[in-house]
C-alpha cells in the first residue's frame, strides 16, 4: 500500500511540475501516466473522470487528482495525489514571492516559455484526437483494428462541435449535460 501511496504522490507531483498553462495542459500528462500505470481499465473511464472533474466545482487539477487517488486507495489516496499536484506550485510560488518578483519578465524564463507555448496545444490536440478516435469511432489503440463508424456517435460529435462554434464561450458543464442527454436519446431511445 505504501508503494502505491508514494507512487500516487510522486506521479501527481511530476504532473504538477510539468503543467504549464492551466488544467487542459494537464490532460495529456495525466492520460499518459494513468494509462502507463494501469490506474483505469480503459480510456473510457479516464474520459468519464475528466467529464466529472470539468463539471463539478473546484479546480480541474485538484478534482482529477482527488478522483484518481480516491479510486486507487480511498481517502488517503485522494490526499496523497492532491498534495502531490499542489506541492510543486506551492513551493515554486513561495520561492518567487519571497525572492524574485521580476520572474515573469526574465529573458531566460520568457525564452523557455516561448518554446513551451506552441508545444502545449500540440500535445492537447493529440489527446483530443485519441479521445475522439476512442469515443466516436471505438478505436482503443492506434492499430485501428476496431474502427467502427456509428452514425449516432458521429451525429453527437458533429452536433456538440457545432454547438461550441455557435456559443463560443459555452461553459463545460452545459456541454457535458447536452452530450449526456444526446447520449440517452440517441443510444437509449432511438
Amino acid at each position: 500500500m505504501f508503494s502505491l501511496l508514494f507512487k500516487l504522490f510522486y506521479t501527481f507531483f511530476k504532473i504538477g511540475v510539468f503543467t504549464f498553462g492551466g488544467g487542459y495542459a494537464m490532460i495529456p500528462l495525466i492520460t499518459q501516466e494513468v494509462m502507463n500505470n494501469n490506474w483505469v481499465d480503459s480510456t473510457d473511464v479516464l474520459i468519464d473522470f475528466i467529464a466529472i472533474a470539468e463539471s463539478t466545482p473546484g479546480t480541474f487539477a485538484i478534482n482529477i487528482a482527488t478522483f484518481i487517488g480516491f479510486e486507487q486507495l480511498g481517502i488517503i489516496g485522494a490526499i496523497a495525489a492532491t498534495l502531490g499536484v499542489i506541492l510543486p506550485s506551492f513551493i515554486i510560488i513561495l520561492i518567487i514571492a519571497s525572492l524574485f518578483t521580476k520572474f515573469a519578465t526574465n529573458k531566460y524564463v520568457q525564452g523557455f516559455l516561448n518554446g513551451i507555448r506552441p508545444v502545449v496545444p500540440g500535445i492537447i490536440l493529440s489527446v483530443a484526437m485519441i479521445f475522439i478516435l476512442r469515443s466516436v469511432f471505438s478505436v482503443e489503440d492506434l492499430q485501428f483494428k476496431d474502427f467502427t463508424f456509428e452514425i449516432g456517435a458521429f451525429a453527437i460529435f458533429v452536433l456538440t462541435f457545432i454547438m461550441t462554434k455557435i456559443w463560443k464561450r459555452i461553459h463545460p458543464i452545459y456541454l457535458v449535460l447536452v452530450s449526456g442527454v444526446l447520449g440517452i436519446v440517441i443510444f437509449g431511445l432511438l
Binding site: M26, I50, T59, T66, V119, G122, L125, P172, I173, I184
Partner: protein, 183 residues
C-alpha cells in the same frame, strides 16, 4: 487566518471548470473587498501564475496567501481552495458507484465522452490561436502533436525539449541583435 482560509474555500466552491474562471473571483475578494493585495500585485500574480508550472488556482492562492501572512497565509489559502474539490469529488465518487451499472447512466456517458472530446479539441484550438506565430512555433506545435500522439517519448520530455529549444532560440536571437547594435 480563518478569514483567508474561508475566502479561498468559497472561491474554490464557486469556481467551475478551472483556474481561469477563478481569476475574477480572486480579484473581487483579494483586491476590491479585503485589499490584501494591490491592483499591480494582482497583475503580477496572473503573469507569474501563467509562467510557472502548476494549476493557476493553486499558484494564485499561494501568492495571495503569502502577501497576506507569509508561509502560513499561503498554506491556509491553498488548503482553502483545494478542500471543496476534495470533499465534493469524494462524495461524487462514492455516489457514482451506486449508479455505475444503470443503463441510462451508461448511455449518458457514451454521449458525454464525445462531448468531452470536443471540449478538449476546442481547448487545443483556443490555446493554439493565442500562440505567437513563427516558423519555430509551427515546428514545435507539430513536434508536440506527433510525439504525443504516437506516444514516442514521455510528455514531460516533449515539454522540456520545447522549453530548451525556446531558450536557445531566445539567447541566439538576443545575441544576434546585440551584434547588430555593436556595428
Amino acid at each position: 487566518m480563518f478569514k483567508i482560509f474561508f475566502t479561498f474555500f468559497k472561491i474554490g466552491l464557486f469556481t467551475f471548470g478551472g483556474g481561469y474562471s477563478m481569476i475574477p473571483l480572486i480579484h473581487f475578494y483579494a483586491v476590491d473587498k479585503f485589499k490584501w493585495i494591490s491592483e499591480t500585485e494582482f497583475i503580477d500574480i496572473i503573469a507569474i501564475a501563467e509562467s510557472t508550472p502548476g494549476p493557476i488556482a493553486i499558484n494564485s492562492a499561494t501568492y495571495v496567501g503569502y502577501k497576506y501572512n507569509g508561509v502560513k497565509g499561503s498554506a491556509f489559502a491553498t488548503l482553502g481552495v483545494a478542500l471543496p474539490s476534495i470533499i465534493i469529488i469524494i462524495l461524487i465518487s462514492a455516489f457514482l458507484m451506486q449508479f455505475k451499472d444503470n443503463t441510462y447512466v451508461e448511455y449518458a456517458f457514451l454521449g458525454i465522452r464525445i462531448g468531452v472530446s470536443v471540449l478538449i479539441l476546442n481547448a487545443s484550438l483556443r490555446i493554439y490561436k493565442k500562440v505567437k506565430k513563427s516558423y519555430l512555433a509551427y515546428i514545435l506545435f507539430a513536434f508536440g502533436f506527433a510525439l504525443a500522439f504516437f506516444d514516442l517519448i514521455p510528455i514531460v520530455f516533449v515539454i522540456l525539449i520545447g522549453g530548451i529549444v525556446g531558450l536557445v532560440a531566445n539567447v541566439f536571437f538576443h545575441h544576434k541583435k546585440e551584434v547588430k547594435e555593436d556595428v
